[in-house]
Amino acid sequence: METPRETSAPPSDREPHKTPNLAGSSPRRGRSSLADSSGTGRRGDAIFKFASSGSGILLLVIMAAIAAFLTVRAISAISADHGNFLTTSDWQTQADPITFGIAAIATGTIVSAVVAMVIAVPVALGIALFISHYAPRRIAQALGYVVDLLAAVPSIVFGLWGALFLVPHMLGVNAWLNQYFGWTYVFHQNEPGTQPRSLFTVGVVLAIMILPIITAVSREIFLQVPRAHEEAALALGATRWEMIRTAVIPFGRSGIISASMLGLGRALGETMAVATVLSPSYVINLHILDPAGSTIAQTIASQFGESQGTGRDALIAAGLVLFVITLVVNGGARMIIARRKEYSGADA
């Protein structure tokens, strides 16, 4: 970032910034006032550079260490596995022969996260736009506080609320969805009227859980849209909604994606809220209203205590899969953002 250095000696090209040396009351003789490098600012520079690059490197080291740990333990488990790790649905780590696979729990993880995103992202964007562009200032402020407060609620509270309140109240919703959208396969119920401890209900709880973080981040982005761009759209005869579509949303696009990724990361990794709501089973069932399925994080949390040896390593292998899913999703989001980088408006 800084100008290239010609020598390994402390760079003297930054000295002219210290104008007091040039025009101060006790100017040094000759070229010494420019070549002098004994100022305390120089040492501060070095310390700061060391501290910040050290933090960056530390982060990479931690990531690599986690990946290495997960991989080593996962390999030992997978080589002991009598089933195919990728295609087996069963999770029989106590049985003999030991068989387990991530097919069902990875599917459950993705399904519940997708349900959560489909519900949460549009609602969150709506709230964020309302706060940033529609609501009167006082209401916007109050609503902003509530959203931030909601973001701080622990996930177990959402889980309890989901299990004790939402599950009984989802019966009607499930029946309605089954009746009118049962033909879509996804909303078909094998046994109508069963307790809705399903991936769908989990998705709804997760949606409410990730709503505040997506809202809070996108609101900040929407507030940063330059007034000049909004006025440009208005002056062309845009209505408020057209102005938002023309100037605000395109400008906030990469921020919206980042916000959604934060939410998705939370949904993929959520443990307690899922464990309290779901009645887990290790089958792939894409009828999302049926009480079936599990997620990776919830499986690890509920089984880790009693597991040992290969069983424990099997859970670590599942953790590795979750790690990879998260990496792939984030990488995909980065690519989407980078593809239109020159249009991002970041330099405007």
């Binding site: 200032r137 330059p226 000049a228 761009h229 006025e231 440009a232 759209a233 208005l234 002056a235 062309l236 005869g237 845009a238 209505t239 057209e242 023309t246 100037a247 395109p250 400008f251 696009r253 239109r340 020159e342 249009y343 991002s344 408006g345 330099d347 405007a348």
Partner: protein
């Protein structure tokens, strides 16, 4: 295409603060009218009342009448959105949409008007870019981002965007103040060509510019800080710059102000 503007008894407010007081003037079609005056005298505020952009600022409101030919822009049945489609605006700082290509920028207004026909859009884009003297510079990179152009090119892009929807009037709020002399000259030449089709009102701090481009000049002033801006006089540019009727105008123009 061009229309006549007839303003009478116009006051503009920011909350309780009156920024512009009792302005009346006539702007003839196919002329360039320049607004000059010291900072804070309400020229830009007044300009923004001519396409109802003033009221997009929270708390801002307008009293009085702005007739565009025989329609009052502040009539009770008038939609401000429709007004802005009729009266286009170019801002002080070039503000092309950063997320759009050059072509998309020019077509933005057409898209808002519901023009979807690709052929019609392409023709309008070329016509507007030619009209803004930008076509030859950008015709090979219409799909590149508008924000990648130089400042002067960006401002001409904004002019192309404004004229693409074929407004009746074009308002320019210090369009050259962020540009170098060569780009400024390009825009001034362009204003000379545009006045054959449009009624143009331009706010400028550059008196030579007002003298070069305008047919009529309006001088605005304020009697003190916190006082509303008022129109001191409006006359042919030649008269304002050679023999103004009011002493304050002469003082301002000759640089003997204050």
């Amino acid at each position: 295409m061009a229309k006549r503007i007839d303003v009478s008894g116009l006051n503009a407010y920011y909350g309780n603060f009156r920024a512009v007081e009792d302005i009346s003037m006539v702007v003839e079609p196919r002329t360039v009218t320049a607004f000059i005056g010291p900072s804070g005298c309400g020229k830009s505020t007044f300009l923004r009342t001519l396409n109802r952009m003033h009221e997009v600022i929270p708390g801002a409101r307008v009293e009085g009448k702005v007739m565009l030919d025989d329609e009052n822009l502040y009539g009770s049945n008038i939609d401000p959105v429709a007004v802005r489609r009729t009266v286009g605006m170019v801002f002080q700082r070039p503000n092309p949409f950063p997320t759009m290509s050059i072509k998309e920028n020019v077509a933005a207004g057409l898209k808002l008007n519901g023009v979807r026909n690709k052929k019609v859009v392409d023709e309008a884009v070329e016509r507007s870019l030619r009209g803004a003297n930008l076509w030859n510079e950008v015709k090979d990179r219409l799909d590149k981002p508008g924000a990648g152009l130089s400042g002067g090119q960006q401002q001409r892009l904004c002019i192309a965007r404004a004229i693409a929807v074929e407004p009746q009037v074009l308002l320019m709020d210090e369009p050259c103040s962020a540009l170098d002399p060569i780009s400024t000259l390009a825009i001034e030449d362009l204003i000379g060509q545009l006045k054959e089709q449009y009624t143009i009102v331009i706010v400028t701090h550059n008196m030579q510019q007002a003298a070069r481009v305008s047919d009529r000049t309006a001088f605005f002033n304020l009697s003190g800080v916190g006082q509303p801006g008022r129109l001191i006089e409006i006359d042919s540019t030649e008269k304002i710059f050679s023999n103004p009727s009011v002493q304050a105008t002469e003082d301002y123009i000759s640089g003997r102000f204050g």
